[in-house]
Structures are given as C-alpha cells and as structure tokens.
Symmetry: C2
DNA sequence: GGAAGGTAGATGCGATATACATCTAGATGA
DNA sequence: TCATCTAGATGTATATCGCATCTACCTTCC
C-alpha cells in the first residue's frame, strides 16, 4: 500500500510505513466499498462512503475522485463509461485482481494498526487509573 | 487533538476529524512516553519512541523535535534546560495537566479508530472467505 | 425554448505536512 | 587539532489536504 516502495521492509510485507503519508484512510475504504458493491461510480460511492469510513472525518469528493484515478493508474481498479439513466454518463469502477490483493494488504496493515492502537489505549488507561489510585490513597 | 478546531463536532467530543492531517501518529506517542517516563529530553525520547510507536514507520528526528515544540506552544508539555552530564545541555520536557488531558483525548480517538479498523478488517476478511467458499463450491 | 436544479466528474490552488539533508555547538578522546 | 558523539534545530523540495470552482449532461417546469 505505500505510494512509494518502503525501503525499510521486504517487498512482500505490508508494513504500515506508508501510513506516514496516508490518503486519509480513504483508499482502503474505497476498495472495501467496491468489494461489497461489486461495481459503482464515484458519485454513488461518495454518498455511502461515510458509513464505512474509518474516521469520522468527512471524506472529500475531490479526494475520492483522485483516489479512484490513482487506484486505476496503479491497476487496482478498472473503469468504464456507462450511459446514465437520467443524468450524465458515469464512470463505473470495479476491483481488479490486483485490487483485491491490495485490499488484503490494507487489511493486514489496518489489523496491525488496530492492535497497536488498542495496546496503546490499554497502557495509557492503566497509567491514568494507577495515578488516580495513588493520589486518592495519599489523600 | 485536532490542530485546528473541528467544525463538525461539538467542542468537547474528541473526534477523529483531526486525523485527516495527522502528525504521523507521533503526537500521542510522545505524550504517552512522557506519561511513562515522567520527564525526558528529545534525544532520549527519540531512541525509545520506536518501541511505543503505533506504526512501524520510522519516526523522524525532525518530526519529533517539531512535535515537542508544537506541544509546548499549545501548553501540553513544558520544557526546561538542564546541564548535560557529558555533552551539551538538554531540553527536558514534562507533561502539563493540559497535556494529560490531551493524552486522554487521544486515547478516545485511538480507541474509536482501533475499533472501526478492526470492524473493517473483520468485514473484509469475511467477504474474502465467502468469496473463496463460493468459488470452491462452483468448481 | 430557456432558466433552474439535480447528477456526475474533474480541476485549481493556497496552505500544510512530510522526508530528508544539513547545520550549530558543546563535550570527549585520540 | 581533528574526529566523533551528543543534543537540538532548521532548510527545503515535494506531496498532500481542503476547499472552491468548473464543465457538462439531463430533466422539469414555467
């Protein structure tokens, strides 16, 4: 998933180094949406994206469209124009094999990230509780 | 935790909107380190930061020092110069009360993020498994 | 027929952030 | 005195973000 290949890890380990410059968590969400829906155009994705978003940051239309083009440039999705039923033509996207793989990589990255975050949370919470216990005892 | 106040949520809910432009997850880690160590200078934090990092992206020296100055500018940490034992003087940081609160906010944000990520992972994994079951059955 | 409004996609651009290199400067040691 | 280590800070090209704006098609309604 890194935009540029990570120099710290082996080629096939999906490290989270690339999160350094993450595309606002939108890339994995787009991939997941296409996995669910099979095929969709940017506009429809946009409206449903929020429900599957990882953060509660509002996903930017511009970011979405740019992410789709970026994914296509990397062969993760493929698009085709379709006549719109009532409305302008729409560019309909679907996942490619590589895209499915890319999503799996993202899954590993997010799994690790999720784990390290919950570890962080546990640790910080415990420290706060211990601190509180100590001060209440002292009083 | 957002660098600029979020316009989508109430003032006191620590939303993850600010993650849009996250400081590479380094801010919470620095706060946590200071919670653990009580007091430390940038140089020492740097060497131990990696163990507590959320991602396996290497934390940048420059990012660390800038984050510390940023935290201090916002009143989350406080620094004082100390004579170094063998070596140049060091700027020693400690958490302020506001910093502790800031860490608690981060904790909530990361907790939510961790949860939505693991939900994402479960969903994507299940979809992959279902897909695999279907194709093996068809064969 | 033409103005208004909704659908769909794309672009422009200033402000920030990131990554990486470089710089200052005191202390130590050969 | 020259190199090296410790400690902190800065410079800068490039990438990304956020927000506004633009094109263009289609439908509806006056």
């Amino acid at each position: 998933m890194p935009r540029k290949i990570c120099v710290h890890h082996s080629r096939d380990y999906p490290c989270s180094c690339g999160l350094g410059n993450l595309y606002r968590f939108v890339e994995p969400v787009v991939l997941r949406m296409l996995q669910i829906k099979g095929r969709s155009c940017g506009y429809n994705l946009c409206s449903e994206l929020q429900e599957h978003a990882l953060t509660d940051a509002e996903i930017d239309k511009a970011a979405l469209y740019r992410t789709l083009r970026h994914l296509e440039a990397n062969g993760h999705v493929k698009s085709a124009w379709e006549e719109g039923e009532g409305g302008p033509a729409r560019r309909v996207y679907r996942l490619t094999k590589e895209g499915e793989k890319h999503l799996e990589e993202w899954t590993v990255v997010l799994e690790n990230l999720s784990r390290s975050m919950s570890r962080f949370v546990r640790g910080a919470r415990k420290a706060i509780a211990d601190q509180a216990a100590k001060t209440s005892k002292a009083a």
